[in-house]
Amino acid sequence: MCLAVPARIIELRPDSMALVDIQGTQREVSLMVLDGDAAVGEYVLIHVGYAIEKIDEEEAARTLALFDELALHDESFGAPTPGDEA
């Protein structure tokens, strides 16, 4: 129910509406509850016809970088944790 899908804004329309592309399908959605401005080309998250949040690509890249960093860190301390043998 709370699932939301990423979409790219294609065109801004009157009355806080926008045409978006959702995985190749075009749909008109409302930007009425989106906080802040949105521009053509930006990605937003759509839930039941409303854009609820912008997708922060920089944050996405940062999270992935953090995963990679943790993975590297793990290789350097591969020793078993005490109590693991149980």
């Binding site: 129910m1 709370c2 699932l3 939301a4 990423p6 790219r8 409302s30 009425m32 509850v33 989106l34 906080d35 802040g36 990605y43 998250l45 839930h47 039941v48 016809g49 409303y50 609820i52 949040e53 997708i55 922060d56 690509e57 944050e59 996405a60 890249a61 940062r62 999270t63 992935l64 995963f67 990679d68 943790l70 993975a71 793990d74 290789e75 078993p80 944790t81 005490p82 109590g83 693991d84």
Partner: protein, 366 residues
């Protein structure tokens, strides 16, 4: 958007899984409060790769499932009122009420329309000025802004034939109710991604501060969920419960103030009845007095007989995390997605349906 596809990268999953397996926490139960997480955890097979000491539990996170039969009966009664056209999200149609589902009401010839969005419900009202369009509003905080926006638009447009029957609920009072009941031991919570995009990650700080429980806000991709599990185990291991937000590409600490502001402008908190829990104070979103004209319950005052539950259905206990779907006598035998006895088997996000589709279709021998 290739950067998002990377969150399904199995090569990146392996090291996170290694970290999870190397954690030294003892037996722990981690609970999610989101139907989307229930499905994502089953679909990605995360349950099956967890080490034996980590148990994944589902809480009352499916809004279709927690809707009470009394509320479903009220929607059916509204649909049968003269001149009313009931609009609802498709998820609700097949859920059996005390006597019948909305699909059965529709089959009797009453106008029940499935809409994808409240925008479609508003359009129905504009196209049918001679009908009273009632939108049956279910959902949690993620879905509530769409209902609030519809009421605000209806008022701005002077639409006098649009109203809503709100059975929308708030996740935090639901989570508190479950924890306060103390039936299930929970050691950490996976925080709902899209609910939190509206109310903000900080709304979950009560878990570490008041319950001593770590919480990790998570997205819906396999890497998001594995990272959330690892973050919870790390906090449990270190004895330092806190808040971790691994879904920063969507969820801000303060949430979406505009959307949440619209919800709070239109709705106030009141008692709601949850399947499996009964009445939970301050857990429902009810139309404020100034929007009473858009409240279908006040406008039409439907009369509803006392509700009843199917005696064999254990959805209530499934929603409280007390039993798993196969523990139910009728799971997978009498109750299947084709012939569901309760909402947890109807909704694609229901624990029973998710278990049936992804885990093991067969019932456990009783």
């Amino acid at each position: 958007m290739s950067v998002l596809a990377a969150f399904r990268d199995s090569e990146r999953a392996a090291p996170i899984l290694e970290r999870i397996r190397a954690r030294n926490t003892g037996p722990v139960s981690l609970m999610e409060f989101c139907g989307g997480h229930t499905v994502a955890i089953f679909r990605s097979g995360i349950r099956s790769v967890m080490p034996g000491n980590v148990r994944m539990l589902s809480g009352p996170g499916c809004p279709v499932c927690v809707t009470s039969n009394a509320d479903l009966d009220r929607a059916a009664a509204l649909a049968k009122m003269p001149n009313v056209l009931l609009a609802t999200y498709g998820d609700m149609l097949k859920v059996p009420g005390s006597k019948e589902s909305l699909a059965e009401v529709k089959a009797q010839g009453y106008p029940v329309h499935i809409v994808y969005s409240t925008l479609d419900a508003l359009r129905l009202a504009q196209e049918h000025p001679d009908k009273q369009v009632v939108f049956f509003a279910i959902g949690f905080e993620t879905t509530a802004p769409a209902a609030a926006a519809a009421v605000l638009q209806a008022r701005a447009q002077g639409l006098s034939n649009f109203s809503i029957c709100s059975v929308m609920k708030l996740t935090i009072p639901g989570a508190r109710a479950l924890l306060d009941m103390g039936e299930v031991r929970v050691h950490g919570v996976i925080g709902p991604g899209h609910v939190s995009s509206i109310i903000g990650a900080d709304a979950w700080r009560f878990l570490p501060e008041q319950y001593g429980l770590p919480v990790a806000i998570s997205g819906f991709e396999p890497l998001d969920l594995l990272a959330a599990v690892d973050a919870l185990l790390e906090m449990i291991e270190g004895g330092k419960p806190g808040l971790s937000n691994g879904y920063t590409r969507i969820v801000k600490a303060e949430g979406n103030r505009k959307a949440w502001g619209a919800v709070n402008a239109v709705f106030e908190r009141g008692t709601a009845t949850w399947r499996g829990f009964g009445e939970i104070p301050e857990s429902g979103l009810l139309l404020r007095e100034e929007y009473a004209a858009f409240d279908a319950d006040r406008r039409f005052q439907p009369e509803v007989a006392a509700s009843s539950e199917h005696p064999a259905c254990r959805c209530g206990e499934v929603l409280r995390g007390v039993v798993e779907p196969p523990d139910c006598e009728v799971y997978g035998t009498v109750c299947t997605p084709d012939h569901p006895l309760g909402p947890c088997m109807v909704s694609s996000e229901g624990s029973c349906a998710a278990y049936f589709h992804f885990h093991q279709g067969a019932a456990r021998p009783h």
